[in-house]
Symmetry: C2
Subunit: 452 residues, 2 copies
Amino acid sequence: MLERFFSPRSVAVIGASRKPKSLGHVLLKNIIDGGFGGDIFPINPRAESILGLKAYPSISEVRGHVDLAIVMVPSSIVLDITRQCGEKGVKGVVIISAGFSEIGNAKLERELAEEADRWGIRVIGPNCAGIIDTNSNLFATIESRIGRGNIAFVTQSGALGGAVLAWAANEGIGFSKFISYGNACDVDESDLLSYLSADKDTKVITLYIEGVRDGTKFMRVARDVSPKKPIIAIKGGLSKAGAGAVHSHTGAMAGNSRIYLSVFRQVGIIHASGIEDMFDMAKALVYQRRTPGHNVVVLTNSGGPAVMAVDELESLGLSLPEPSGEIRERLDFLPPFYSVNNPIDLTAQGDPEMYARVFRSLLSDGYYDAGIVICVPPLSLDAAEVAEAIVEVSKDIDKPIVACWMAGRLVERAVRILEENKIPNYPTPRRAAKALSVLMEKESMNPQPGSP
Amino acid sequence: MLERFFSPRSVAVIGASRKPKSLGHVLLKNIIDGGFGGDIFPINPRAESILGLKAYPSISEVRGHVDLAIVMVPSSIVLDITRQCGEKGVKGVVIISAGFSEIGNAKLERELAEEADRWGIRVIGPNCAGIIDTNSNLFATIESRIGRGNIAFVTQSGALGGAVLAWAANEGIGFSKFISYGNACDVDESDLLSYLSADKDTKVITLYIEGVRDGTKFMRVARDVSPKKPIIAIKGGLSKAGAGAVHSHTGAMAGNSRIYLSVFRQVGIIHASGIEDMFDMAKALVYQRRTPGHNVVVLTNSGGPAVMAVDELESLGLSLPEPSGEIRERLDFLPPFYSVNNPIDLTAQGDPEMYARVFRSLLSDGYYDAGIVICVPPLSLDAAEVAEAIVEVSKDIDKPIVACWMAGRLVERAVRILEENKIPNYPTPRRAAKALSVLMEKESMNPQPGSP
């Protein structure tokens, strides 16, 4: 069980440092500033106190129980530190220190795993960037802190993890957990999938992997987890050159790219082609429910963006049937020059009331399975009012809905209104279409939208 | 010649309105606030003055010459207005008014074209969002104003144009010209390509088209222009449903998607799959020169992002050869645990000096044709200092270079330094790789990177 890593009552920071900007300092500062509620024990033989906390020369000097140790010391003493943790009764250790199999030092890594096993210790790392649990305000990482949300992000590459967290903060994306698992000498991606499938704070699991050591285990776990919780994964090293780079990066064997993508499909993992793609889909899956179906309607006030959405939807295997006779009847309040097609274009005349009335008419029976709303506000239109109108309609409709309010700063308030009400918004029609496709359950049976 | 549209000394705004938020008001206000240096004549029979300018009941009442008329009146009187413009000697008219072939009124549009032709008037529109020339501060548009730059954006869809301008302002993208040409009753996309090929402010032409009326002319012009100036195009309506939507949007026939993409290749147009893609490539082409070659090196301080860049580069047909023996010799100052591969990973130890020295060693002879620099700054590293170091090296290297400083706000200053020095930066490794590929001239001969 990995609970020990995410709800500890006490944390030791082994290698905490007084030197500003050093990793041992950043790590301790993150934990303190993040607001962790339990005890924090800095361990450093050459300091009396660090950042206002009493420091201990070794973990054995700490009085009271230590649930979790975060280790940021030279690789040469990691084995010894692990033994000390074992003697102290610590059961979870996160090893941030590098200098193991990723630089060819596989023997040391094996010894580390054996030492940990001897004491019943579970290890995350080595060569990782640490872990975050936003629910318990545990920011045991050298990377930047993040906002709370329902996406868990698990990454084999620590630095990529850090970059993604910083990028996501800008995009307003929140996380339940961040786990950089590095060389995976013990806890691996499969263990983490298993654990996260039962984590109540996590609705969607996102994953950056370069290689998987135990393919059979990974397939078994993913197949078990994916029907309960969506798993979205980027596979680094799909190309020949990329596979070589992976090998020199984490020492992992990248494996054949066709095999990976085919395994993803078989076990229900959604493949993402890149970072934006992954979090676009994750946002959709956090806000909305997947439902069966493939018939999509596009409502817009601007022809061009709707055309681009439709092109993307069709390329993803979704259908855009013309409105049924019944829907046409419901829409007969529209002025005669409106062509009631799909996409249906309200033109610059579209006001909040018309948006709401048409959107409700389109989605109020079983004909369409999902809808995209596009709004490119002319200066005469308040984009936020259209957002409010669509939010009202969405409350009565149990179908996937995604939005594309386009125009940068001019629609910032509208986007906030949409997303606070669980309608994911995307800055371009293609991204909206791609995100919608992941909500249509047909997709999980067929080639994944993200597949090349 | 289309000069008349972009360097007028006097502009009449026919249909200027005193009513705030009305299009006739927004249009006039844009022209005034934009800082247009010539005479501005609001035309409105029911106003004495608008926004502090004397208004005229009709264009014939204006004393002095009028170079350009922007028309925003009901479609029913556009013919009459055109005749009045003819009598006044106006030679360029931009018709923003809708209500022509896009709603089935093809006859009125034909009559408009004939009336204009009778007077030697060139027409942009109808059913368009207007034009912008940032060099002469002419913002004759109902859309938001934009910053100066070297990208011309030509769009068949006016509302898409507006959304793109607003989005681009957020992204810091600047334009030379914006031309929304709407139904193209006279001036069409080919005329605009021709004109822009000789425009000194324009380095890259971007294009959103749904249909082309005269395919032979388009091919001839594009084939002529593309070797002189890159043309990047999005084709709306590539799917079956999209083609239907195009037809009801602008009345254009979308044509067969395979034919379009094949024509693009033949005439040297770079196909963009979406808005971000188009401007990612445009930025690269504005800042950097295309050069022949296909051997790329990736320098990074983080393995994961480099793997993702490499995967994308290989999928785009570029090569990532290992460093030559000579380069290895030049790099022997690196500590022994660095593996000198491609990508070459400086790890968290990479400082500005090391970045600069390694980057120079990699690109200082003819072995590599281009380079990507990735920087995911650990907290101990000043991302801006690395940017400055790379900028210094770039001054001595005449090869395409693109950057990927990842981490949102943490790298804002670094990104500004890079881009002020003509090194385009992208927020993800895939986008950096895609943008680099458009700078490698091999690409213009082979299937376009943006093609499906």
